[in-house]
Structure formats: C-alpha cells, structure tokens
C-alpha cells in the first residue's frame, strides 16, 4: 500500500550514477510506493559499520512504483564522508531509508505564480515542486544557480512535462546563462515586479543559507511570499532528538524549532536570519 507517513524501509539500489564528479543520482526499490510532498526528505544510510554513525538527510527527488514495488530517487553531492560512502555503493546493495519526513512546500494555493529558486544541489527539492506544478499546469519559472556550467544539474534531469515553465540558468563564472549569482538574477527580476504581480507570487527556495537570507529579505521588501527549505545537522530526522533546531520568530520572541519536523520548509518571514 502506498504510504505517506514516516516508515523505516530497506531499499535495494537499482542505480547510483555520478554526473561529472559533482552530482550523483541514486535509485532504489522500496517495499511500497511512497507519496511525498516536494521539499520532504528522507534519512538515508547504508554503509556497513558504525562510522559514520548517523544517517544523512536527502530530499526526495522522485518516487513512484506500484503496489509491492516502490521506487525512490535522490540526488546528492559528495561533500563529506557519508555522501562519499553513498557514492561508493553499487546496484544490488541495500540502503536504510526513513521517509517521507518533514513538512514540504505548500503548493496548494490556487492562482499563484511560483518562482522556484535552487542554488547548488538545492535543485533537488525544487525539481519535484516543478513536476507537481507542471502537472497541475500552474504558472512557474525556475532559477537555477551554480558556480560554473559544470555545477548545474544535467539538462536531462530537468523536469519537463507539458508546461515545463521557463528556466533561468545562472553561473557565477558566466559559463552558462545569466552571469552572476542566482540571487542577483532573482533580485533583479523582483525589483521589476509590479505590486500586483508581487501579491500573486510565491517564491520557493532551496540552497545555501546566505542565498536564502538574501531572497527572504528581498521578498519581504516587495511583499512577496516566500518559502525556504532550511538545512541543519540532524541525528534522527523525525523530531525526537531536538538536535536540528533553528531560531524562528514566535510573535515578537524567538523559539527553537526543529528543521526536521516543523520544517525543513518554513515561511521566510518566520526565520530569524
């Protein structure tokens, strides 16, 4: 039976392929199909031994399958030991996966225009949102930023469908698309926005904290609503260790909220930047 409440499952790797040494895409079968909201994530491990000990949070990139035979995909960048170990796993080997976790993007508002902003590997939670919006024929544009052309997600991973929306590629070195940071591209467009369009706009953003902070500030200034997917170190991923908290505004005071449970997606105005 398809599930959408957290489950701990064993996955069997179907493929685990690197793209230009930067991004990996791993696909695994799981016992049942999982339904997820874009922005939701999984805690993934699979290497033998207790070092490293903790599973790694990865956004659910794609999921599907049929009864008794689910499938799930993640994309990841090798940044440290856990992701390096993941990248060394082979088809047939197993993964431990807890999913789906956290609160994803709120895509359920009618008649809105979405800007989807992904910095670096942030496209991993932004693409699934594009898939849902495309399927729903909602209006959206996508801004994808990276250091160089090689650090952009491979073209063939970009969600297509009937209304793929416009995609703005941005590279810091100018090797592809807009020359500059993705933030600059978004800020420039925001500045030109009419107040009326601004009121119909929602930004969904995932990427480095500095990028999210700047986008949140610009969005607030133009009264554009924005949802940001935060990251933090996690032990459990499902709200029981209180290790992953960030400061959020709670009225005029601040409180610690769990990225894994109350997030990872937060209203940008709630975040104490």
């Amino acid at each position: 039976m398809p599930f959408n409440r957290p489950r701990f499952v064993t996955g069997r790797i179907l493929r685990n392929e690197g793209r230009g040494e930067i991004f990996y895409r791993i696909e695994a079968t799981i016992p049942e199909p999982v339904r997820f909201v874009p922005g939701q994530f999984a805690m993934v491990s699979g290497w033998p031994g207790n070092d490293p000990l903790l599973p790694r949070p990865l956004a659910v990139f794609r999921a599907g399958g049929t009864r008794g035979k689910g499938k799930v995909e993640f994309v990841y960048k090798v940044v440290g030991r856990g992701t390096a170990l993941l990248s060394g796993l082979h088809p047939g080997e197993t993964l431990s996966i807890t999913l789906p976790l956290g609160r994803g993007f709120d895509l359920d508002r009618e008649g809105r225009t979405y800007w989807l902003v992904g910095g670096g590997v942030g496209f991993s939670s932004v693409f699934p949102a594009a898939v849902v919006l495309g399927r729903r024929r909602a209006a959206f544009e996508m801004f994808l930023g990276a250091r160089t052309r090689e650090h952009l997600p491979p073209r063939e991973w970009t969600p297509g469908g009937k209304t793929p929306g416009t995609i703005h590629f941005c590279t810091e070195d100018g090797t592809a698309g807009f020359h500059g940071r993705v933030t600059d591209a978004v800020l420039e467009r925001l500045r030109r926005l009419s107040p009326e369009s601004a009121s119909r706009m929602t930004i969904l953003a995932c990427g480095p904290r500095e990028m999210l902070r700047e986008i949140a500030a610009a969005a607030a200034e133009r009264s554009v609503s924005a949802q940001v997917a935060l990251e933090n170190h996690m032990a459990c991923g499902f709200g029981v260790c209180w290790g992953c908290v960030v400061s959020l505004w709670d009225g005029d005071r601040t409180a610690y909220r769990r990225v894994c449970r109350e997030g990872p997606v937060f209203d940008a105005r709630e975040v104490v930047w």
């Binding site: 207790n50 000990l53 903790l54 599973p55 029981v240 209180w242």
Partner: protein
Amino acid sequence: MVTPDLSVSLGGLRVKNPVMSASGTFGYGVEFTPFYDISRLGAVVVKGLSLAPTPGNPPGRIVETAAGMLNAIGLQNIGVERFVGDVVPRLEDAGATFVANIYGKTLEEYEAVARRLSEVPSLGAIEVNASCPNVREGGMAFGATTGGIAQLTERVRRCTGKTLWVKLSPNVTDIASIAKAAEGSGADAVSLINTIVGMAVDHRTRRPELSNVTGGLSGPAIKPVALRMVWEAAKAVRIPVIGVGGIQNAADALEFLLVGASAVQVGTANFRNPRACVDILVGIEAFFREQRIARLEEYRGGLQREKIP
C-alpha cells in the same frame, strides 16, 4: 517451545520485557507510533522534563564522532505541565508503560517536578537524571559525588510514592560507590550510563562544533565503558540496574543483561533505525528461544569470570 518469559521487576515497576527507550532519544514516545506499536516495549522513557518549558541550547547541538555523537541539546522540553496535559493521555491511548525522566537546576526544582508527576496514576516510574549540572556546586553534576547523589535521591524520594530510578553519570572515578549512595538513599533502581562528557572542534575555523563547547558522547563508541560500569554497579548494589550506552542490537542488549543489568535502554540507535527497540526485543526473544532459555533470570548476570583460553 513456549514464548520465553522476559518480564522483570525494576524496583516496583514490573515490565513485560527488558527493552526500553533511553530518555532524550525517543521524544515523548508518541512520535514512534508510525513505526510500531510502542506498547510492545517494556517501557517508554520520555525526554527529560523540567518544571517550566525549557528552550535548550542555541543551535550547534549535535556533532557526529567516530561511532558516536555528541549532543548538547540543553534539555529542551515542553515542561511537566504540558507533558501531563498533552502527552500523558496519548501515551495512555497507545497503551504504553511509560517513565518520566526528570531534571532540575536546583533540588527544589527536581522536587517540584517529581511531586507533579506523582499525581499521574498511569506513570510507571520516575527516572531522575543526576547528570545535570548543579548550579550551587559550580556546575558539577549532582551525580558527581556520593554526597550529591545521596542528597538528590533522598530529597526526591521524600516527594514521591512512585517507583524511583536514579540515572547515573559516568563521569566519575568510582561508579560503584555512586550507585551504592543512590541505593542507600532510597533509589528503587539505578540506570546507567548517561553520556560521557566530550568535545569536538574544527581545526580550520578554530571553533567548537557545539555552541555549548562540550557535549555528551553516546552511541556504539561508549558501549565498552557502559558495559564495564554496569558490571561494576551490578556487583555493588542489590537493587536492579538498568543498562544504557551504545546498545545497537540484540547482541549488545544481551551483553548488558549478562553482566548483571535487569533491563536495558536504547538511545542513539533509534536515530539510525527508528525500529531499533522492537528489533532488539525480537532479537532477544529469538536468542532465548534458540538457547532454550525460559526466563530472563536464567540468563541475567550469568557472566562466567574465566575467559575460555
């Protein structure tokens, strides 16, 4: 063979099996209901509760270490009142046996929390976290000296008719004498170990990894230390000893039972495998079946002193 009898008495609280969650790693218990029926566990030990809600430490609360992790959560919790009002009914609905872990910055705060919890009929036991820094003693833990542990145990003992467990800090020279002091002051059982104080820094940024600078080490890395301390404590006291520290699987749990623990608590393992506690329970049952052990007591404390050459 019939199902082995795993029930055991933990100082007044009889549990149906010796597998429990460890405080602070299991939330308030109800978070685990998507994963399995928590009433299967011997008991659910919830996150440490203080009198008022506590915000905890600033972020930079956890860091991974070799086969372990450091945490400096700072005991963020919803406070005893909301626990009793919001959580207890849900634990009752789930049919779980549950135990409240408590702490305070002063003895008076410990007492107040214990008093409030004593009014909850369904509560199985109170576990006193004696690893908390004692503000009057310059931040040394209540559990760091025999005098400190005796005073804390006695004071809480006087406020509650509930079964009282005292959870010991491993950051001491002689765990046996600490365990004895708790026993002598009215503890119905001792649980050990809490985390070992550790630290992690980043050699590039030249800063600590945790906002609190130091944190508590848990996970497989500490298992050998926990096992030794449980063994020492079990030899020193007559009250039940509850083993905690680095338990990941049924074999680990059995090791603690073998050296004299009456039950175990599973902590950090829940993070990697949310089903860790039931998996361990099932594994113990299977082992007892295989070995034709009918009752927990036949195995518990059965360590032979001599190594086979």
